[in-house]
């Protein structure tokens, strides 16, 4: 029935490649943690984490190439409202006078 239009999975080699990239990124982020980058240590670590998460979402969870955009919209909405929670909470904490 739907084999042709639904074929969202990639080849085995591609998955192994993405897995390898993820492992390399993990090694990179661990290595970066031991280098003193000053205020950029957290930035680099979170950047690498975001790249890894994006790879997982796009290729393992098949958001890229999905037949509909709705899935992507749902993911974006989730992170958008998480960003609201974090940013508006910080709007309070970063401007408090008691610290």
């Amino acid at each position: 029935m739907s084999e042709h239009e639904e074929h969202t999975t990639h080849s085995q080699g591609f998955y192994l490649l993405i897995g390898a990239v993820l492992l390399v990124l993990t090694a990179t982020t661990v290595g970066a943690a031991f280098v003193n980058l000053g205020p950029f240590n957290p930035v680099v670590a979170l950047l690498i984490a975001t790249v890894k998460a994006t790879l997982v979402v796009l290729f393992f969870m098949h958001v890229k190439g999905a037949s509909e955009k709705l899935t992507g919209a749902v993911v974006v909405a989730g992170f958008f409202f998480l960003a609201i929670l974090l940013s508006l909470s910080l709007a309070d904490y970063l401007t408090r006078s008691w610290r």
Binding site: M1, S2, E3, E6, H7, T9, Q12, Y15, L16, I18, G19, L22, L23, T26, A27, T29, V30, A32, A33, F34, V35, N36, L37, G38, N41, P42, A45, L46, I48, A49, K52, A53, V56, V57, F60, M61, E68, K69, L70, T71, A73, V74, V75, A77, G78, F79, F81, L82, L85, L86, S89, L90, Y93, L94, R99
Partner: protein, 240 residues
């Protein structure tokens, strides 16, 4: 929001689907059922993001407020075990997508094999996590009346101005976040064990393997949460 209420080709597949025992009566065809299940799963994943989001929010707020103590406490975590576990989870995510691929190709034994490997990798993660927790108990890093924190020197032997109470707050968050993550891992392992049995019995076919796909999505999300937990808890405070 451009999804059409009637999927194209539903009429042609209708007769074919009449034999599909997995098709529930209130759906017009298997494609509609599959799309519904997939959207439902994604919405559930959003609830998981917000669920962990509350704890990420607490972590962010307190790290900003108690930076030095959080840095000192963070340096007591074992990067080795954390990194090993990250690698284990990434490999398990690969075995999960390969399982989905095997299901799509109708390779039953391969599917069962990948599912079993996934469960084993998940358990490996939990065992390593268990060793980490045991270390915390031994060093009195578990919040509560017995909590002690005396490690106020950073890796270079420099004294850090640490408030042990705030370090206890860090470990509270550490246990809350990794504990909730481990609980999700346990649920995932249970889920894949059941699916492996069903797959062995031949419940899934190239035309119907939605449960494998959806459990896979869940597993990847748990992986992603760890991908963020690892740098936030273990890595980013090595140099402060």
């Amino acid at each position: 929001m451009s999804d059409s209420p009637v999927t194209a080709g539903s009429v042609t597949t209708m007769e074919h689907e009449a034999h599909n025992p997995a098709l529930l009566h209130h759906f017009s065809d298997a494609q509609q059922q599959k799309n519904a299940a997939s959207l439902g799963m994604w919405l559930f994943l959003v609830t998981e993001i917000m669920f962990f989001g509350g704890m990420f929010c607490a972590y962010l707020v307190y790290r900003v407020a108690h930076f030095n103590s959080f840095a000192a406490a963070s340096q007591q975590l074992s990067i080795g075990m954390g990194a090993f576990n990250t690698a284990v989870l990434i490999v398990s995510s690969v075995t999960v997508v390969l399982a989905v691929k095997a299901a799509e190709a109708g390779k039953r034994k391969l599917l069962v094999g990948y599912l079993v490997v996934t469960v084993l990798l998940g358990m490996t993660f939990l065992v390593v996590k268990g060793f980490e927790y045991r270390e915390k108990f031994e060093r009195h890093h578990v919040p509560g009346p017995t909590f002690k924190f005396t490690d106020t020197f950073d890796d270079n032997g420099k004294q850090i101005p640490v408030n042990p109470k705030e370090a206890e707050l860090f470990f509270s968050l550490y246990f809350a976040m990794t504990g909730m993550h481990a609980l999700h891992m346990i649920i995932g392992c249970g889920l894949f064990s059941v699916l492996a049995i069903f797959a062995w019995k031949g419940h899934y076919s190239p035309g119907y393997f939605t449960p494998i796909e959806n459990a896979g999505l869940y597993w990847h999300l748990v992986d992603i949460i760890w991908i963020y937990l690892f740098p936030l808890l273990y890595l980013i405070s090595r140099h402060s």
